[in-house]
């Protein structure tokens, strides 16, 4: 079996990637099918719903053509899939732009928000969990138990509003909760789309300070709500490993505490990676709420506008892009998981 031998001789990381990659195809097909069916779930004729009672037969026919509602369901699906593959997600009824263009414009705002929230969540949750386990019955241990219980019960949009009230309205520490940058400043020239990175590249430190300032409250909101789950899970995993034989052996061999913690953390990595992937999906949903509160102008706010204006092509496009993004995240997570745990056979 030469093919099998060839496969065995590939480096392990490459084997992991190659065995995972084909899975994405049926999943993407499924996502396209679901978003396709979404508009077909509308009760009644979607064109009438979108155009209202003033619709003329011509405008209805036009919109039917535009939405790809002509022909059998199968023909419609093939038509829709053809468009999606070519990057055509239809025209937004509200902004009159191609949905794909609208989404591309707004994606960096949301990604920047998610990026910093995930970063802060990881740092905060893992350090609290480690301290709580290493110093049991200490302040951090008790505080983390209380926080773990409360964090799962707090609605993110409410936390955002409270932060605005306390840090902006009352204390006046936080910058105004509208938008990604001070309206008097010019946004840095787009390279990555992340305002913080772009202003650093442009050397514009005023814009850098402003965009970090604007990130403060929304990132804090998402972190407070998100870190609870990660903290609890890390604590459980890390506590198990902290009590295991190999850690006891390391301690008996006189390794410094810092090194032992690092080794124990290395072994708690796989479940953390899985949960991080899941949390990114959760953050995308939470971003919809938080962006609305902070007028963030990202994908989430676009989706809310689409819901309010019954802009179905835009909503459809958002669901498609959001789900495809999550699938990619899960793919990366699966790959990282197998890379982090050398015991898994590929």
């Amino acid at each position: 079996m030469p093919l099998f031998d060839l496969w065995r001789r590939l480096p392990r990381p490459l084997r992991i990637v190659l065995s995972r990659l084909p899975m994405i195809v049926p999943q993407m097909l499924g996502v396209i099918f679901v978003t396709f069916m979404l508009v077909r779930l509308l009760p009644g004729d979607p064109t009438l719903l979108m155009l209202g009672n003033m619709a003329t037969p011509e405008s209805i026919a036009n919109l039917r053509e535009q939405l790809g509602l002509n022909g059998s369901l199968w023909q419609q699906f093939v038509h829709y899939m053809g468009n999606v593959v070519q990057g055509d997600l239809g025209i937004s009824l509200f902004t009159s732009n191609p949905v794909a263009t609208d989404l591309m414009e707004r994606a960096p705002a949301t990604l920047e928000l998610i990026f910093y929230s995930m970063l802060l969540t990881l740092v905060f949750a893992v350090s609290v969990a480690v301290i709580a386990v290493v110093r049991p019955r200490g302040f951090t241990d008790y505080a983390s138990r209380f926080y773990g219980l409360a964090a799962g019960a707090i609605p993110d949009f409410w936390v955002g509003l409270l932060l605005i009230f306390f840090l902006f309205s009352l204390a006046g520490i936080a910058p105004a909760p509208f938008g990604r940058i001070d309206p008097l400043l010019e946004a840095p020239p787009a390279v990555t789309g992340f305002y913080t990175f772009d202003s650093l590249i442009a050397g514009d430190f005023q814009a850098l300070a402003s965009s970090f300032g604007r990130l403060l409250l929304p990132v804090l909101t998402l972190t407070i709500v998100n870190a609870g789950a990660l903290m609890k899970m890390t604590k459980t995993t890390f506590a198990d490993i902290w009590r295991s034989d190999f850690i006891r052996h390391q301690r008996a061999s006189g390794l410094p505490e810092r090194v032992i913690i690092r080794n124990a953390l290395r072994n708690s990595l796989p479940p953390i990676i899985t949960l991080v992937g899941f949390l990114i999906g959760f953050l995308l949903g939470a971003a919809v709420l938080v962006e609305t509160i902070f007028s963030w102008g990202g994908l989430g706010q676009y989706a809310v506008q689409a819901v309010i204006n019954s802009d179905y092509p835009a909503l459809q496009g958002f669901v498609l892009v959001a789900s495809a993004f999550i699938l990619l995240v899960y793919l990366v997570v699966d790959i990282l998981y197998e890379l982090a745990d050398p015991r898994i056979q590929v």
């Binding site: 999943q27 499924g30 996502v31 679901v34 979404l38 508009v39 779930l41 509308l42 009760p43 219980l149 409360a150 799962g152 019960a153 707090i154 609605p155 993110d156 949009f157 409410w158 509003l161 409270l162 605005i164 009230f165 902006f168 309205s169 009352l170 909760p177 999906g281 959760f282 995308l284 949903g285 939470a286 919809v288 709420l289 609305t292 509160i293 989706a303 809310v304 819901v307 309010i308 019954s310 179905y312 909503l315 459809q316 958002f318 669901v319 959001a322 789900s323 999550i326 699938l327 899960y330």
Partner: protein, 281 residues
Amino acid sequence: MSRIADFTAFILRRPAALVGLILLLLQVLAIVFAPVLATHSPTTADPIASLQPPSSEHWFGTDVSGMDIYSRIIFATRINLLISVTAVAVAFVVGVPIGLLVGYYRNWLSSLTMRVFDFIQSFPVFVLGMALVSVMGQEIWNVAIVLAVLFIPVFARLIRAEVLSLRDRPFISAARCSGATDGTIMFRHILPNALTPSIVQVSISIGMAILLTAGLSFIGAGVRMPVPEWGLMVSVGSQQMILGVWWVSLFPGLAIVLSVLSFALLADAVRDYFDPRRERG
């Protein structure tokens, strides 16, 4: 009856569970006696009394259209718990038999079902919920149906995992040898032993459903004004929060937190109660 007495005694010995139980009882009281407990009509606007701070007349203040926030919070308990409990009940009733069948009969149909569930669960919950509700129409029952659909895979998966570990046990083989039909084995012998994780999950899911319902209403994809609903009430106050008007959003948000917390605490209590390693006495 002794089971209930035993469980009550168990809860009374645990402060956290007791808090959860008291919070739940408060919600039941609010649901049953809402017209008695409320001081004002929950849906009557009073433009003269707009944005009044908390006072002896309006305990939690009034919102921008002058509705009494305390009375709306009391009445909203009905809507929020109705949606959440219905959604989870439907998900439980549909998901449990599916999980049972999928775990018991292992053929192409059950693998296909599990793939479909994997797929539903790979969507970001809130995004899918938002899209479905806005497409189906923003009605209370549609929110409940959508949440139920999103929760069905959770229960099916939990039951299936239990069934898989039970189906090859000796007592099941014994039942089969003594001539029990598949239906008897599944429902009489496997199901009672497979239910515990799902019962815990019921309580957790109700909490999640409350948060999701509130979130959907908050962005305008759930129920609409003037229906008293906690998330919608927070949303009504969100514009004024920046001006320092805190009471419109604070109190309904607090209601959400306490409600979700009560179900989380009870879930913990139920889990510990059914834990076989727990010492009895």
